[in-house]
Symmetry: C2
Subunit: 534 residues, 2 copies
């Protein structure tokens, strides 16, 4: 299914904004979707690339929204009124029966029952499966659940992923957004062993059954919803636990970006295309800039020149710092390339508008300044957050997503994925061997059309084709009830974010299509249920 | 689907046989199915009941054939010619990333490739998923794979379940059938933690991918086959790993005997019915005998009297020993109630034939003697085997199957299932709390028709309705490709055992129906594959 009808021209428009302050996050949010307009524009992505892991391309973050907003620049979001926070005494190790496996930890979940039609009506449950970050931020940003709950009289539940936020087995030292507990966890050889996707899915299974039991809602159908890594979890959850979830909405879930299913160039080829589409001049400026950065860096006082040109907060130690910073910026602008501001368009307007600049680097800086305006200086070193630390561990244990650049049509320098380097880096960092084939062993992915055309049902894979991660997504219907809903101009997880009045027609239609499909699942379910009970 | 057409009268017929000697097992078997005629008759079941675990009903063993044959009375079966034994360096812990999780163990698997059509023809693979016992015995007894391999040009593979046989992480001390390693494993708090069904399924996933990789058989479809507990594993494997197994034949798999899905009386009500159908007189004799045993036991020298009457090898310590022995005998006779000898019929012919005996206990003994003829004495104490020890652990960790007797229509005394007693027994024995709800959390089972009617495909649930475990089986088609194939007169796992010339028509038909269904899966698969490749 293609939700896109009109080729919206608003890619070139953008509105000015200012940088998020802590105040922005600590203030009480009302649940008016329009309030998040500003938030979408703040895409200060800190992507782990060569600065940390040598020269190989590293995995761009897999969050519905820019995780740095939640982890670095913000204190904990206050859960809006109407939402109640609970903790479940969760099994630490679902797949072993060792003395320490009987340990438990407190898993956070947040419920809003104001729209719920109740157990007696078998009213449904919308369950958001948390991904690699604290859950409270998601509550205010993921509009899909709350916006559609009234129509379906659904209970709305947000489940926090183990180890993030307040669901760290070591407790949330220094508060839910503090990195202390996370840092300690991933250093702790025993505790970090339980930090993986299969355990997280089993948490969700146990916790959702607990919630149904507590509410006597045995026959309430559950729809699981997730974005990015959380979208992968949602689709896997429906496949592994069909007896718990009736269906899944998996937004921007690159479930095919494992092993060699998706070509390694997939991600950056879309980043490149996004910029090429925004402006041919912008694209070629960026493409030229990498050699120019190296040329300047190699000159006497070259790094100082670069530091000054790019207004770095501290002097550059090497040219990689700058190149990584820009690489990450372009990637995240493409990934979170959402209307109405379209970050790629903003960068390109900066670059194209620097008509006085003859130097390619001045033009590139103008792009940066347009994307992240109003800053006295730019911090080129990656910050740390629960997300950045936790996701490193997940990548180094099992979430091995081979992204590289081999093609010279890319606007980035060549940087082929190096599996050995990945392993070496992980061994150096954590002392463990990654299991790069485990994801496809446990979850599948190869020949997905053939496998799932006669197996499974009730999954929506939604994607925006401007999202670089859509290259690893399911973009065609697999069967009449495993469906792909995609938009040509959409970006990462756009469909499940809160809607805006300014949303283009194609985005409104994508969401409507998804609701229609889910409604169809419910109709069949209730017909079945009625038939069984009478 | 009901494979049964004629109501075969051979229930009353039986042939004499002698007890298996070690020689029987150590001799070289040819692959003539007829040779196993004798074996089927040797159902010396050692079921763990009250003798070990107090007064609660315990879980009757879940093996395709009597496991005591393999564990207690026999040395290791010699793998027949044409079969090659291999070992795979298997991951000990698939769901954790702790230093010790990177440990591996040697998992045994046995391959016969003489019928295989080869990777270039995408010829299929029949994979037998080992259950709670050494795999080598299964190779000679499970005829379904080898008998059907020529027709499908299939590779035949038998995978050993972790901890059994030569696949014990502690090694196979004292040989593959020795209980030493198993005893040590279940006492070892660390190592036994990895001894569970989810880990075993993940073993099979990894190992089957390894075999396909080794043989370059990427497009060879795999059918997994299992019986009893192994049948549960087969159906769960298809549900959890549809990308690895195209389909599953789950023979006599009581996947619904968890939590409260199946009434606790299910098992023993079928045992009762089997005896009632064999002979009304036999049934009422057995029904009377329990009180009579208690009455005699309470008299002066009563236990001595009972010991003499029942020719026990050593004097009885209490009446439970005798009652447990008889309970187990009736249960296993019903469970393995296979043609041509039909053990229930043999017991009843003994009882009914004791026309000179006025004492009810003499008649019961005549039943025992008819079932297990030619013995100087009867050993009432349960023997130990890898199976009995290993299965105790599995029951006490997760395979909690609540079997009890509440109804007075049973031919057994009342003995309601006591969940608290189960927990107490397990805590006393292993020091761990069982997780009785984990099986339904991970595998489902509740509302299975509604859940799977629109999810999943290519599973055959086969059952014989005289098998007490069929009470927890799937007995009706769930969808057009999740099918129940049952026979009115069949017993436990009969369909996957080697065929005999004397097999009744309904059994021949059941197997034919299964082959036809599997053939349909292949036809669709190859059509799909052809379509994708051209």
């Amino acid at each position: 299914m293609d939700s896109e009808n009109n080729n919206n021209n608003s890619t070139k428009s953008y509105i000015n904004t200012t940088i998020a302050s802590k105040k922005f996050y600590t203030s009480q949010f009302s649940f008016t979707p329009l309030r998040f307009n500003t938030m979408r524009l703040l895409m200060i992505v800190v992507i782990l690339t060569t600065a940390i892991f040598g020269t190989a391309k590293w995995t761009p973050r897999l969050s519905p929204i820019d995780p740095s907003l939640k982890g670095e620049n913000a204190a904990s979001a206050t859960v809006p009124s109407g939402f109640e926070t609970f903790f479940y005494n969760q099994t630490l190790d679902h797949f072993n029966y060792k003395p320490e496996s009987y340990a438990t930890f407190q898993q956070r979940y947040i419920i809003n029952s104001k729209w719920w039609g109740g157990a007696s009506n078998n009213a449904p449950i919308f369950a958001y499966l948390g991904a690699e970050g604290p859950i409270d931020g998601d509550v205010t940003i993921l509009g899909f659940l709350t916006e559609n709950a009234p129509r379906f009289k659904a209970l709305v539940v947000y489940l926090e992923h183990r180890f993030y936020g307040e669901s760290n087995p070591l407790g949330s030292k220094g508060g839910p957004d503090s990195v202390d507990a996370m840092e300690e966890s991933v250093k702790n050889e025993t505790i970090r062993g339980y930090f993986n996707s299969a355990q997280a899915l089993a948490d969700y299974a146990e916790l959702l059954l607990h919630i149904k039991h507590k509410l006597h809602a045995h026959n309430s159908p559950i729809i699981v919803i997730g974005g990015s890594y959380g979208g992968m979890l949602a689709s896997w959850f429906r496949l592994k636990y069909p007896h718990i979830a009736l269906g899944a909405l998996a937004s921007s879930a690159p479930i095919l970006y494992f092993d060699d299913i998706t070509p390694q160039d997939g991600y950056y080829s879309i980043v490149t295309k996004d910029f090429e589409q925004a402006s041919e001049n912008c694209y070629s400026t960026i493409k030229q800039s990498w050699d120019e950065i190296d040329r300047v860096a190699s000159m006497p006082n070259g790094l100082l020149t670069l530091s000054q040109k790019f207004k770095t907060c501290s002097p550059l130690n090497n040219s990689y710092e700058l190149k990584d910073y820009l690489d990450s910026m372009y990637a995240s602008a493409a990934q979170y390339n959402a209307p109405p501001s379209y970050p790629t368009a903003r960068i390109c307007q900066g670059i194209d508008g620097a008509t006085n600049a003859t130097d390619v680097l001045d033009r590139v800086f103008a792009g940066l300044a347009a994307y992240r305006p109003g800053r006295a200086c730019y911090n080129m070193t990656s910050g740390v957050s629960q997300t950045s630390i936790g996701w490193q561990w997940q990548v180094c244990s099992e979430m091995s997503i081979p992204i590289g650049i081999t093609s010279n049509v890319s606007m980035f320098p060549s940087s082929p994925y190096d599996a050995n380097e990945y392993v070496d880096d992980c061994v150096k960092r954590f002392g463990v061997m990654p299991r790069p084939h485990w994801a496809t062993t446990y979850y599948g992915g190869q020949d997905i059309r053939m496998i799932l055309s006669r197996f499974g049902s009730n999954i929506i894979f939604s994607n925006g084709l401007r999202d670089p991660y859509s290259s690893g997504g399911v973009l065609e219907d697999i069967s009449h009830n495993i469906l792909a809903v995609k938009t040509t101009n959409g970006s990462h997880c756009l469909d499940i974010l809160s809607s805006l009045e300014s949303d283009p027609e194609w985005l409104v239609k994508q969401r409507k299509d998804e609701v229609k499909i889910i409604n169809g699942w419910f109709r069949k379910y209730y017909r079945n249920l009625h038939f069984l009970k009478h």
